[in-house]
């Protein structure tokens, strides 16, 4: 049995016939080939799979694809705009905010959401924001710095055409 679902992912409309129980992370990765979001734990603990559902970060390993039917999804592939990296992406490069790169897309999606709602977060706010996600490589310090870097460079990013 399949059901037809349709959603916007990074601004593009997709419609697919899928198994009703298909997880959103598998829909994105296996059906759409958007492999930037990763699967890491099954239990919503690690956050490698964080994407936006209607402008809110969610863990796509514990959402059915069908629950995103009619909604808008944004993934790491949608961060770069017109060939220009988002300040969050640039911040992770500048501050060595990643090592193996597996948790990075999820971390960046949360970071983007944080900065959209709290443009000037302090260290405690940043740590709180990413506390539902696990990184095994960085000890978090450089992720915090990366997000601070992005906060400091957000304005100049927005000013550019």
């Amino acid at each position: 049995m399949t059901i037809r679902i349709a959603m916007t992912v990074n601004g593009t409309e997709y419609a697919r016939d899928v198994e009703p129980r298909l997880l959103l992370i598998h829909f994105l990765r296996d059906e759409l080939g958007l492999t930037g979001s990763h699967w890491g734990c099954d239990t919503s603990n690690c956050g490698s799979c964080v994407v936006w559902l209607d402008a809110k970060p969610v863990k796509s390993c514990t959402l059915l694809a069908a629950m995103a039917d009619g909604h808008a999804v944004r993934t790491v592939e949608g961060l770069e705009q017109d060939g220009k990296l988002d300040p969050v992406q640039q911040g992770f490069i500048e501050c060595h905010g990643l090592q193996c790169g597996f948790c990075t897309p999820g971390m960046m999606m949360t970071a983007r959401w944080l900065l959209d709602h709290h443009p000037d977060p302090d260290e405690a706010q940043i740590r709180e924001a990413i506390s539902g996600q696990i990184c095994r490589c960085t000890g978090y310090e450089n992720i915090v710095r990366s997000i601070r870097w992005a906060a400091e460079h957000n304005a100049e990013h927005k000013e550019q055409p």
């Binding site: 198994e19 129980r21 298909l22 598998h26 990765r29 296996d30 080939g33 958007l34 492999t35 930037g36 979001s37 990763h38 699967w39 890491g40 734990c41 099954d42 239990t43 603990n45 690690c46 490698s48 993934t75 790491v76 592939e77 961060l79 770069e80 990296l85 992406q89 640039q90 992770f92 490069i93 500048e94 060595h96 990643l98 090592q99 193996c100 790169g101 597996f102 948790c103 990075t104 897309p105 960046m108 260290e123 940043i126 740590r127 709180e128 990413i130 506390s131 539902g132 996600q133 696990i134 990184c135 095994r136 490589c137 960085t138 000890g139 978090y140 310090e141 450089n142 992720i143 915090v144």
Partner: protein, 784 residues
Amino acid sequence: MSQGFGRMHRKEDPRFVRGQGYFVDDVQLPGMLYGAVLRSPHPHARVLAIDTLAAEAHPKVRAVITGETLQERNLAWMPTLSGDRQAVLATDKVRFQGQEVAFVVAEDRYSARDALELIDVEYEPLPAVVDARRALDPGAPLIRDDLPDATSNHIFDWETGDAARTGAVFDDAEVTITQDMLYPRVHPAPLETCGVVAHFDQVSGKLTLWATTQAPHAHRTLYAMVTGLPEHKIRIISPDIGGGFGNKVPIYPGYLCAIVGSMLTGQPVKWMEDRSENLMSTCFARDFHMRGELAASRDGTIRAIRVTVLADHGAFNGTAQPTRYPAGFFGVFTGSYDLEAAHCRVTGVYTNKAPGGVAYSCSFRVTEAVYLVERLVDMLAYELDADPAELRMRNLLRPEQFPYTCQTGWTYDSGDYPRTLRLALEIAGYAELRKEQLAERARGQLMGIGISFFTEAVGAGPRKHMDILGLSMNDGVELRIDPTGTAVLRISVQTQGQGHETTFAQIVAEELGLSPDDVEVVHGDTDRTPFGLGTYGSRSTPVSGAATAIAARRVRERARIVAAAMLEVDPADLEWEKGRWFVRGDPDQGRTLAEIALAAHSSLELPDGVEGHLDASCVYNPPNLTYPCGAYICVVDVDPGTGKVSVRRFIAVDDCGVRINPMIVEGQVHRGLADGIGMALMESIAFDADGNCLGGSFMDYLLPTSLECPAWELGETVTPSPHHPIGAKGVGESATVGSPPAVVNAVIDALRLYGVRHADMPLTPAQVWRAIQGRPLRTDLAIS
């Protein structure tokens, strides 16, 4: 502008921040099928019958593989890295909960999982042993009855040091300390689980594996030995790896099942384990029951250390370490101190738990050794009412003692330990911290300050001492300078996030005066790289980094001959400056490496015996390990009401010799410090009395998040390794090795008012609370 060593952005990052990393689960091949493993619910049971008919009838199932299928191909068992054997799929018994019993190949992931439910296995449950201390009891269930002559669960006894001399020191020591300690079973838990895509091409007979492996070449050799396929017909591609930490060193049964699945179906088969499979069945770490004894004088001089270890190796002896070291490099338990004598005896036993055993950034069990000695030293400080910093300073090896051969025979290459500890104390503001602690205690607050000083032993290793399954631990590199002056470096070691594409390019850049951007580092593909044993035990820079520097120097010397031919002078008259050979005394007369490279590929006539082109290779045999060190200080606050530990500060001073890219080194240290907080406070793969694994998900196996970790405060000292071509020492595991005792020492220090001398990790709120109540309990077993 050329740049060699120093901070630079990583060459890997642009793809990762765009979500364009390429991990094994990202591999999509035409006609690819999916595998899933049926696992044992029992820790110990006889397998009486397996009925696969219903699963085979599932419309999307393409193959069901059992031990019987494998037996026909002589693949039901495979060798482990310790020379034991491990069941690929169980034929006679299951020996741990989560053991592989059957493998389904289906058209999609979900159908493969569905079909597992359709397999009916008849088990006869047997009594299980999950407490290593009961494994050798008379009448304990015999786990490995598959081995001829097996009469008990005993695997090995191993000892090092001088028992008699150590005993003599203990006999006349003024002070002795004895403590039983458990380093609990933990798991490396990289965020990317283990998996493989196997593609056997039936026409060419070539097997291609996209695999999460830290050691692609070693795996290729092992696959050839196990499957009988000719080695040149096996290609291992290790694409981006989502963290390894030792978890991705062994070969797992699922990999072999995927290979057989591809052979049976003629199509590629992908198998990715889920998180529970990862935690319950793959390479665990530690599980060392240690009795440590320390002998000292009243004045605080540490004289001898004696250790007895019971090592829980699980159901198959699959620990990954050099052959002659069944307890890894635990022999460096003598630590950073000048002892009169030392002795250690390790007994390895089988239990009904997952196999594996040397992983989680442990430097072949230096982790356990450092924990033991640093806890003992703190207990001595407690006993003598001495300051733990002063006590360490009094006993640390002095710079003039290097190279220093410790009482168990390891020759530490270099270090300035007192300077390293002094720097850490300075950064911490140690004296002020102690004053603050007194004030806090007066107010009833539990503040603790913990110190650890570690000596690491990394970069295996010298071929006369070290091999794995007979393969020497030497690694090759190949360096080619293109006609237009760019470079391609091929390496055998395998990054899992360490940034090899950047650091190895920097080594070449430093040696040849190129820009790292002009050096392409090729890795992770056995068809495109030279042989070597891979990345673990912090060996990439000590071994392959050395090979790279030597190959670059060989290229430089070839370039000198070519430059001499170009300039029509004697090579001896040329001098090198970064990127260029020039005539001594006439600096304008010179040729850049790019000019030389083009000439080396041109019709320029070269002296007899000198080959055209510009390339070199090197297989490096390290003369010794490298011995990084560090001084760590952890400050904690303990909530007396709940027992919850908060890490307030963490100061880490590391000496890993010359730093190629300090940014990457610091990142690696950060990672290991977080590991230390995790292991000391949260992480444990525990079992109940029936052998059920209680750490099988991230809801039960707790890892530190951004909230448990403080902002790290780092410092560095630099004592170059005297035998390494660029003076570098491995650093990837230093912080994981050094940090757990600093955290534990801090917590115990905080609990001093309660007379607590020791409590085993993880120091969860419950464990700390029990310690405060005077009844610390074991944490690895849900048995009171």
